[in-house]
Each structure stands twice: as structure tokens, then as C-alpha cells.
């Protein structure tokens, strides 16, 4: 049972005050956005589900500590992203297996694009997933929040707990690396290599080796 008239703040307050349905309503209201962030950051549905479950349990338990310094959704995203980054860092030594294309359907819930959503080229989406998987988790998370999910840099800074300039830098360097991996840099002269100083006259575009930023 939901009551869409209640704001996120009201729902969280109601949860703290003992309303057993309030947090469930909050979860259902934002689950798809949170899921999109988690599954795109981790590129693994099982890991994303586990991270999201952990994060939401944390939020459920810590709701009384929410002081309203940010929007409830920003707070929820922060908890989810932190859970994802923790998992991503733990598995960093292991190779990532990117997800198949997003058009894959679940047994009981087709993952159909929303009517208004433009279709995404299969190969493009798969290439993007593969390329993102090669980025350091922090750059990946920033790019997914800003460029994929479309959140403002200022909000992403709050979610990630860093300065806006840091968000911009992570995005900028991540884009530059993706540009090489995805082949957006022209072959031939003038193409730089990410992660260091390069000889522009001998640039090697489309070099797939992306060094993690340390």
C-alpha cells in the first residue's frame, strides 16, 4: 500500500516514527534508479542485488541519523554507491565479466525499454559496458552518475563525498580513457595516451590497455 502524496522526507520520518510501510514505499519509489546505478557500476546483477540489499538494510536501520542535510534520494544513492564501491574494490583483483546487453529479459519481468526511451544500439551498449569495466571504480561511479544517469555534478559530489572538482576530474579522465578504448580518438597523429605524457605525433589511438588511475 502506498501513499504517493507523502514526500520522501515524510516517508523517512514516518519510518523513524514507526510506520512499517513507509520505508517499503520509499524503496519502491526509487528502486529502479538505485538499481540502475548499482548494476551499471558493478556490471554484475548478483553483485548489484547484494550491494543494494546491504545498502537498503543500512538505510533502514540508520534512518534516524538522517539529518536532512541533503535530499533523501541523495542520501540513498550515497549509501548504495558506497556499497557498490566497497564491492568493486574488493574484487578489483579479479577480472570483470560485463553483463550482456540490457535487452536481456528476466524470466518474469521483461526488461523492456520504456516507451519514451530511445533504443540503444546493441553493440554500442555492450562496448560501453566493457569499456567502463576497465576503469577504476571511482572513475566508473562518477561517470555512471554524471554521464549515464544524468545527475548534476554538485549532487554527485555529495553522493561520493568529494569536491565537485574531483567529480569533474574523475569524469574527465574516465572519458579520456573510454575515448581510447571505444575508438573515439582518431587513429594517427594527435592522439594522446591516457595516464601520462605521450608523443602526439606517434599517438596510438585505440590502444585498449587502459591503466588504472592510482
Amino acid at each position: 500500500m502506498t501513499d504517493s502524496s507523502r514526500s520522501d522526507d515524510e516517508l523517512l520520518r514516518a519510518h523513524v516514527d514507526g510506520d512499517r510501510d513507509a520505508f517499503a514505499e520509499l524503496f519502491h519509489r526509487h528502486r529502479d534508479r538505485l538499481w540502475a546505478v548499482a548494476v551499471r557500476t558493478l556490471a554484475d546483477r548478483e553483485e548489484a542485488a547484494d550491494a543494494l540489499q546491504d545498502a537498503l538494510l543500512s538505510a533502514h536501520r540508520a534512518a534516524a541519523r538522517f539529518r536532512g542535510d541533503s535530499a533523501v534520494t541523495t542520501w540513498l544513492h550515497r549509501i548504495v554507491v558506497n556499497a557498490c564501491l566497497d564491492r568493486a574494490r574488493r574484487r578489483q583483483a579479479h577480472p570483470t565479466v560485463p553483463l550482456p546487453d540490457g535487452s536481456r529479459t528476466e524470466p518474469d519481468r521483461p526488461v523492456a525499454a520504456e516507451p519514451a526511451a530511445p533504443s540503444v544500439d546493441h553493440d554500442t551498449a555492450l562496448d560501453v559496458r566493457h569499456a567502463l569495466a576497465q576503469l577504476p571504480p571511482e572513475q566508473r561511479a562518477a561517470l555512471i552518475l554524471v554521464d549515464v544517469q544524468g545527475y548534476p555534478v554538485a549532487e554527485v559530489a555529495v553522493i561520493l563525498g568529494v569536491a565537485e572538482g574531483t567529480v569533474k576530474s574523475r569524469c574527465a579522465r574516465g572519458r579520456a580513457k573510454l575515448a581510447v578504448v571505444l575508438g573515439h580518438l582518431r587513429a594517427g597523429g594527435g592522439n594522446p595516451q591516457p595516464g601520462g605524457r605521450v608523443r602526439t605525433s606517434t599517438a596510438q589511438a585505440r590502444t585498449a590497455s587502459v591503466e588504472d588511475e592510482k
Binding site: 519481468r109 544524468g150 572538482g165 602526439t200
Partner: protein, 292 residues
């Protein structure tokens, strides 16, 4: 890379420049100058700017596609959340010796008038008979003698009389075991007659024993004043008025459940253990929550 004679471009620095991360910094002007003056930087800048736009477009296109949470994941998480014990708000800070976080620049606290030592010295514990004027302010029924409210009936009620400056807190022993904030939405009712009414019962219908023996120290006005003073010391705002103190239990352990209003007008309920107000023990905080 070889040692050939090529101009070097700091790729990360250039990427920061293209991405706006250097905006307003001294490095922005440095990179801008090199892009303007050095062909290698200019060439790399043009290439990276164009490539970055392609990347952004690709990411945005991917992001425009829906990524709904699979039903089995949604059901699983919803089930986990539903099975999660609904932690009473009072228990959310049970281990926090300092209580809720407080602003770094808080003003000096003012204790409620009744808690002043001079007032306490004059205090005399008396049987209830002063009515329940404050409970009505908290949304309870006007029960002056009616005893019709369904909220946690009290028994063994005692009242600390008014001080010269303000309302006195009413002390009661409801026999309740506070486990959820819902239990604390209304302070226990103090019957105007002072007669004991039906004691609180647990879920199995068993009469709950009063923890008064463990908390008896707090029946002393001076000890209770010290306890409230300790709570005021860790609460972010001034304690404007104490509405009632229920010598009861919190999650099965004896606790003084203090209902008060702070200087912002917010109502709070605070659970303090038997050592509340003792030297070195502070408020012996077991939990606290804003209510209403």
C-alpha cells in the same frame, strides 16, 4: 614511447582541462596557454575534445535506456526489508554515549527551571493529584479525572511539584517496556486521582513488573534533576520543559523514559539507564528520538 623529439602532452591534465576540472584554478590558464601556443597540445586538445563528446553521447544514450529492477530482486529486497525488525527509534542510538550529534556552535544551555538546585531543594515528592495538564499538549486526551484514554495507563504515580519558575516534571511508573517509538508517542497518563489503574500488560497478557526498585534512586528530585541535567548536556538544544518521566523499561532493561520539549519546540523522548546523572555516567543514554 621512444626518445624521439616530440612535444609531450600531459594527458590527464589536458583531460581535466577539457572536462572543466581546472575551471578557476591557476592550471587552467597554464593549459590554455600551452594549447594556444604549442601545436602538440593544440592537436591533442582538438582530438580529445571531439572524442570526449563522442564518449558522452554514448554514455548518455546508454543511460537513456531503462534499467528496471528485476522483479525477483525487488521481491527479495522487499521481503528482507519486511522481515527486518522495525527498530524502535529509541534504540537507534543505544551505544552513543553522547546522544544525538549536536551542532559545533551551540549556544549555552539553559536548564528547565525545575531542575535548578534551588528548586530541587524545595521539592517534595507527593502523590499525584495535580492533574495532567501537560499531557493534553502532547495530543493526549484531556483526562482530568476521566481516565478514559487508551494510552498506557499509569500506576504508582508521583509528581514533583512545581518550582517557582516553571512546570514540574511528573514522575510515573507505567510498567511499560518501551520498544518502539509508537509506544512513546504519548507519555503515560497520570491520573488525576492518583489511584493506580490497570497495569500495562505485555503481548502475552502478562502483567509487567515495575523496574522501580532499580530506578528508585531517580525518585529523589535531586537525582532526577541531575539526570535531566545530564540529558540536557548532550541534547543538541536546550531542554525547555520536561513533561513526564516514566520510570519504566527500555527494551527490557530498567530505564527512565523522559519526555521533554526542547527550545525548538520539538518533542523528544529519551531513555536513560539507572545511572543517569551519576558522576562519570552522564545521561546513561540508551536511546533517544524525536517524536510528534
Amino acid at each position: 614511447m621512444t626518445g624521439q623529439e616530440f612535444s609531450e602532452v600531459d594527458f590527464d591534465l589536458l583531460a581535466d582541462y577539457v572536462g572543466g576540472a581546472l575551471d578557476g584554478t591557476p592550471e587552467e590558464a597554464v593549459v590554455a596557454r600551452r594549447v594556444a601556443e604549442e601545436p602538440a597540445w593544440a592537436e591533442a586538445h582538438a582530438a580529445l575534445s571531439e572524442a570526449t563528446e563522442g564518449v558522452r553521447a554514448g554514455l548518455a544514450s546508454w543511460g537513456a535506456s531503462a534499467e528496471p529492477m528485476p522483479a525477483e530482486v525487488s521481491d527479495r529486497i522487499a521481503d528482507v526489508l519486511a522481515r527486518e525488525p522495525h527498530r524502535p527509534a529509541l534504540s537507534l542510538v543505544p551505544d552513543d554515549p553522547d546522544g544525538p550529534p549536536r551542532p559545533a556552535t551551540r549556544a549555552r544551555r539553559r536548564l528547565p527551571a525545575w531542575a535548578a538546585p534551588a528548586a530541587i531543594a524545595a521539592g517534595v515528592v507527593a502523590l499525584a493529584g495535580l492533574g495532567w495538564s501537560q499531557a493534553g499538549d502532547l495530543g493526549g486526551s484531556d483526562d482530568s479525572g476521566s481516565g478514559t484514554t487508551a494510552e498506557a495507563p499509569a500506576f504508582g504515580t508521583e509528581v514533583v511539584p512545581d518550582s517557582a519558575q516553571g512546570a514540574s516534571p511528573q514522575v510515573t511508573e507505567s510498567g511499560k517496556d518501551y520498544r518502539a517509538l509508537a509506544d512513546a508517542q504519548q507519555p503515560p497518563v497520570v491520573m488525576s486521582s492518583g489511584r493506580a489503574v490497570a497495569p500495562n500488560k505485555d503481548e502475552q497478557g502478562q502483567v509487567m513488573s515495575s523496574p522501580v526498585s532499580v530506578l528508585s534512586r531517580l525518585r529523589d528530585p535531586a537525582a532526577l534533576a541531575a539526570c535531566v541535567q545530564a540529558i540536557a548536556a548532550v541534547h543538541p538544544r536546550e531542554v525547555a520543559s520536561v513533561e513526564v518521566v516514566d520510570l519504566a523499561s527500555f527494551q527490557g532493561s530498567p530505564a527512565a523514559i523522559v519526555f521533554f520539549t526542547d527550545s525548538s519546540g520539538a518533542r523528544w523522548v529519551w531513555a536513560s539507564g539507572p545511572e543517569c546523572g551519576l558522576a562519570g555516567r552522564g545521561a546513561d543514554t540508551r536511546g533517544s528520538a524525536k517524536i510528534g
